[in-house]
Symmetry: C2
Subunit: 295 residues, 2 copies
């Protein structure tokens, strides 16, 4: 039994669960995960029926402790609190958000996920800053601006609907946000060397990550900080090592990696959805491990 | 106001605090921290008296949110719970531990810090394993073995008192631990390619980290995981970048970095203490940034 098997089995101790939920509870990439499931079924450790996975008696006997007991229930294992005041406002605001469309590969993270990023950046000392948000269909710009701590926030997105929404809310709530429609593939000199902090959720191929982070680095004044989300689902350890090399070569010091900090809402809307045209083009979207965004 | 200044000021909003406590609440290395404090005093943002730092009215007006509000109080911002059963036993056991002596650069982390490491490794799927503990004056081997989850634990330490204590407790509680006296500078073939996981708190110079991690890597069977603690106090961003390069060059993928996860007990015993002979010798102990372990 290796670590992935242990993660799977100890996650199943309480109750059977859907394959899609289980994906989230372990560290392997999608191809590795499905191979592992198959092997565990063959060994009689688990049973799979109609997309749901249950532990067998044989599997149950292998594990002594449940993983859930280890995570703090108060903060969902993140270590961070959510500011109640901004949650109230942010929740109300995003009820009317433009819905994700596949052309732009959108798919927003959960409300609590966005708000925990605000807490994290605040606690790290990076909220009181000029902040550059690269791609903002999560409306992180709005969430962070609702604290009234940032000096100024510039949000860019290729989707006009997103930017119009941001600018409308910014005016309504007197938030220090400027939204601009921008295709990341084109450099814009207005946003060079102007910011203390950038934040982005890159497309998760190496060229995609490189494009997003390069724009982030170029936006920083001098030394600065970058925050970005990556998923483990589309990255084997080998690919992750390549990503790490790229981050290092770009001059970053990796100071914090917080796993399962931002999760997608558990409503199934964000997976296996994008089949059509994606505007950044195939070279940024597809590699051997991009099972979650198939084209 | 930069991120370090923001961290300092927002940490002082509630109450004045000692310089030593304040060190822990910000990210800069010690030389950077003391330079920053001096500048902030000159700018009238803080006042320093008898080793205690207070915020001024001018400083107070700069900050809108307290950082403490962001951290989960339930788990001390770590995201992890402590298993009650092993805490009870571990606490009782370490009451009789051999006291730290400077010859070996010992200085144990807090009880909760050790126990959170156990929870973290469990949740990451790495506790059900053959574990190699490199240097064990924290008695992590005992804490993790008390879960009865690990297959086997081998703990090595240069200090005979530590190893005798571990072996005595292992027998008393029927724990699967083997303790061996070993000077890390000498390779021992018995511990090559035998383990799934290693854990260590290296001496924090580049040669020191390299020595500890190399022994860790060599102990792993094939692919495996390593857990190690580093402090930010003795590392500027530049030094941290060098550490990152070394970790990368050794073939590690950095998958989790959890800040302020293990802290030293707040009793002042562990700082500015070692003035004498340290057995690993100067080359492993001293660099330009090692202010916390001066010789």
């Amino acid at each position: 039994m290796d670590r992935i098997e242990y993660q799977i089995i100890s996650s199943l101790l309480n109750k059977e669960t859907s394959i899609w939920k289980l994906i989230d509870l372990q560290d392997a990439s999608l191809p590795e995960f499905f191979e592992k499931l198959k092997k565990m079924e063959e060994k009689g450790l688990i049973e799979i029926k109609n997309g749901r996975v249950a532990i067998t008696e044989k599997g149950r006997n292998l594990v002594k402790l449940k993983r859930e007991e280890m995570k703090c229930p108060e903060c969902d294992g993140t270590g961070y609190e959510i500011l109640k005041e901004i949650k109230r406002d942010y929740e109300k605001i995003v009820q009317n958000r433009p819905l994700p469309i596949e052309k732009y590969d959108q798919g927003y993270i959960s409300i609590d996920g966005v708000l925990r990023r605000v807490s994290f950046m605040m606690e790290r000392g990076d909220l009181h800053a000029n902040i550059f948000v690269i791609g903002d269909d999560d409306f992180f710009s709005i969430a962070s601006a609702l604290t009234y701590v940032p000096k100024k926030i510039v949000a860019i997105d290729i989707d006009e609907r997103v930017i119009n929404f941001i600018n409308k809310i910014a005016e309504e709530y007197s938030l220090k946000i400027e939204g601009h429609v921008l295709d990341l593939q084109k450099e814009n000199k207005d946003f060079l060397h102007k910011f203390d902090v950038f934040i982005t959720d890159p497309v998760e191929t190496l060229p995609g990550i490189k494009l997003f982070l390069s724009r982030g680095v170029a936006s920083l004044k001098n030394k600065g900080s970058g925050y970005f989300g990556l998923s483990t689902l589309e990255a084997s350890r080998k690919k992750w090592y390549e990503i790490q090399k790229m981050i290092h070569d770009m001059g970053f010091v990796i100071t914090d990696i917080r796993r399962r900090f931002s999760v997608y809402p558990d409503d199934g809307k964000n997976f296996f959805k994008y089949q059509g045209d994606v505007i950044l083009g195939k070279k940024f979207y597809v590699d051997d491990e991009s099972w979650a965004t198939p084209m």
